[in-house]
Symmetry: C2
Subunit: 77 residues, 2 copies
């Protein structure tokens, strides 16, 4: 089953959103990816349509940008 | 049990987000409020911290702004 992926970068906005999302969804169905620590996955996120974090990539392949923490290009550094 | 509230205004971005959110969460735990049709609830949304729609007010009282459709002030008209 396709999973939901939550991309973040450890920012305060990201952490708050993560806690909310994981309390609303079943955490075992959500993969949490810290793009600041896993920079090799930034391309994957960008190709999926993620423009900023925090963002949720749904099993349908749609991206929900949740609040605003940072742009991908700023994480890429 | 406190519910989750999804505020929207019928815009295309709102409808897409609604479909995703309702597919991820248990729809019976989510109240969907169309602020364009229920303008008497705009104050309630604003007081809860909603600045734009679509937005999800969680049972914890936190607001997740999901993508961007319209500002509350523009719905108020």
């Amino acid at each position: 089953m396709p999973k939901t992926t939550f991309y973040h970068a450890g920012c305060p906005v990201c952490v708050d959103a993560e806690q909310e999302i994981l309390s609303l969804l079943d955490p075992k169905n959500v993969e949490v990816v810290h793009l600041g620590e896993s920079k090799n996955r930034i391309d994957e996120a960008q190709n999926a349509g993620v423009q900023s974090v925090p963002a949720l990539l749904t099993p349908n392949g749609n991206v929900l940008h949740i609040n605003f923490g940072a742009f991908l290009k700023d994480i890429r550094g």
